[in-house]
Amino acid sequence: MSEILSTGMHVLLFLSLYVQVFFLVTFLENRKKIITRNGPTSLSRYPKVTIIVPAWNEEKTLYNTVKSLLALNYPKNKFRVFLIDDGSTDGTWNAMSKFSKNPNVKIFRKENGGKYTALNLGLEHTDTEFVGCLDADSIAHPESLARIMSYFEKDPSAMAVAPSVIALKGKGIVQSAQRAEYDMSVYVKKMLGFMGAIHVTPGPLTIFRKKVFDTLGPYRHAHNTEDMEIAYRMQEHRYKIEQCNDAYIYTNTPSTVKKLYRQRTRWIFGFINNTIDYRRVIFRKKYGNFALFTLPSGIISVFAVSLIFGNLLARIWDFILTKITQFKITGFEFVSNFGNLDPFFINTKSLVFISILIYSLIIFSIFFGKKIVEGKWHFPFYMLYFFLVFSIVGPFWLLKAVYNTALSRNPAWR
């Protein structure tokens, strides 16, 4: 049994290392193409864009979100904002009404039906060439839209362009931990973009050609992760998704472990279930790197984290049991078996070294993500919180999502 476990660990660590090396090689191949622009961006043509802001009980954050959209560096007659109240029970509608006189803003109110229904209502009223959505808890950088649109201008085959989503500077360990994680995903997304293998077009300001929805249909419920499903659907039809690394969207992150746990359970549950729904594309080479790399590496990480964490828990449990027996037998007089720290007792198994390698590559990706975001090298100390929070709580939401999938239960939104 332990032999099977050890082989399984080795295989999963090999695959996890493979994924990290793949990102690194992609980075080395494309590093010259990563350009971070400063200052205003101008386009030769400014196509019309509609930005849909769905909101459910977001009275506190909505105002700043809309303000940031109205401050975008984009010709005012070329973009419109749809504010959609999805049956809020707080003051969201009042907050929206403050903008009703603005010629760029149109407000809608509907019965609560879930985020995807709000988005679809917006899509029904959209008649512009481009359309995007911005979650009502996020703030757009003034240059973000113009920079995203520059990708469409450069590449007529691009069907959607995703921004760099950055965590707003929050308080406490939980939000600091997420900052590092968002930095890392800026890097990961950029690499996936180079590979044509992006699997999420995030709610905070991804811009689509309207044609995407005209040909592929509207948003679906998709296990509460509609922004993931639309990307899967686009990949299935080989629609190109790009990532614009210097279009910054700042988003509010969950402030407590409990809220973070809920959000991540939903995300992972969405990943697992959308992947099950689209299992027909996995490993089919006509779907490109998305089918051969993105989905398999996501599946590997689900297994790797479960196994590694399960193993860790078993060890901790063993340790506690031994300490309890020791205590029962000898009372408070703890006998240290290894009186002084002899280097002999340092674990030098290959698994330890491989884990160190994988961690180093993860640290590199946080570093480089940070570089893309800030344009300079700088050691993010909150990285330590990331390892702390995500390695302790992460496995729980992952296992919970697996458990929910097994029971086919949908996790709550918040």
Binding site: F14, L17, Y18, V21, F22, V25, T26, E29, S157, G196, Q235, R238, Y239, K240, K285, K286, G288, N289, L292, T322, T325, Q326, I329, T330, E333, V335, N337, F338, G339, F344, F345, N347, T348, K349, S350, V352, F353, I354, L357
Partner: protein, 231 residues
């Protein structure tokens, strides 16, 4: 539309890099394991030389006085070696090298036991022995508990020597010990304290009184314990 061409060469190159990293890592890991085994070997050699030299010294001086015999520190070294071997068995795996080191260790323990016994008989020095038999073949929670009790006792009594033997080890001298004390594999853990053979688990207090009765040992006071640790 997306470019459907998959860069197979890249998949292969990444595979080769990953495999290369994996192999280097296992090479490094093996290197360290080798170093540890060598360290164990050198400790054992040192102990073997010490025992041999003490034996020789004992034979030379047996007709004379006891004052000149210097043989007391060895049991600590044996204890350290035992812990390192145990660790190696679980962490490096029960390889042939580790197992043969373990056999050698059992022999050294028996030699140490015989020599110390002889010295203490002849020279009337105070010393106490516990022979401890355990098993690794089956999951033996009582053996684990007994191990904890014995380390606690060793900490308490400076002159107490604990010799531990794996029941299933393939060493004829250990088999002879098993015969002498009539140890059966169904009754493990087993302890031999003085003239008594105990089987199953026994708590600290019970063994303490037995040790004090049999050998007349006194507990170390706290000061001497900390001095011990420092040295």
């Amino acid at each position: 539309m997306n470019n459907n061409n998959i860069d197979w060469k890249k998949y292969l190159i990444v595979f080769l890099i990953t495999a290369g990293l994996f192999l280097s890592v296992s090479y490094i890991s093996n290197y360290f394991s080798g170093k540890k085994v060598n360290q164990l070997k050198s400790i054992q050699d040192q102990i073997a030389i010490d025992i041999l030299s003490s034996e020789t010294q004992f034979s030379l001086l047996s007709e004379l006085s006891c004052k000149n015999i210097s043989y007391s520190i060895l049991s600590d070294e044996l204890g350290e070696l035992g812990r390192k071997l145990e660790w190696s068995e679980t962490n490096l795996g029960a390889t042939d090298t580790v197992l043969s080191l373990k056999r050698y260790y059992s022999l050294l323990q028996i030699k140490d036991y015989l020599l110390t016994k002889k010295i203490s008989e002849r020279c009337k020095t105070k010393s106490a022995f516990i022979l401890y038999f355990y098993t690794t073949k089956v999951n033996c929670s009582e053996c684990e508990k007994t191990g904890i009790v014995l380390s606690a006792l060793r900490n308490k009594y400076k002159d107490l020597r604990v010799y531990s033997f794996d029941y299933s080890i393939d060493v004829s001298a250990v088999k002879t010990l098993l015969d002498i004390y009539k140890i059966e594999d169904t009754k493990l853990p087993a302890l031999v304290i003085g003239d008594e053979t105990l089987t199953g688990f026994h708590g600290v207090e019970e063994l303490k009184s037995l040790i004090e009765q049999s050998f007349g040992l006194q507990e170390k006071d706290t000061e001497s314990v900390s001095k011990d640790k420092d040295s």
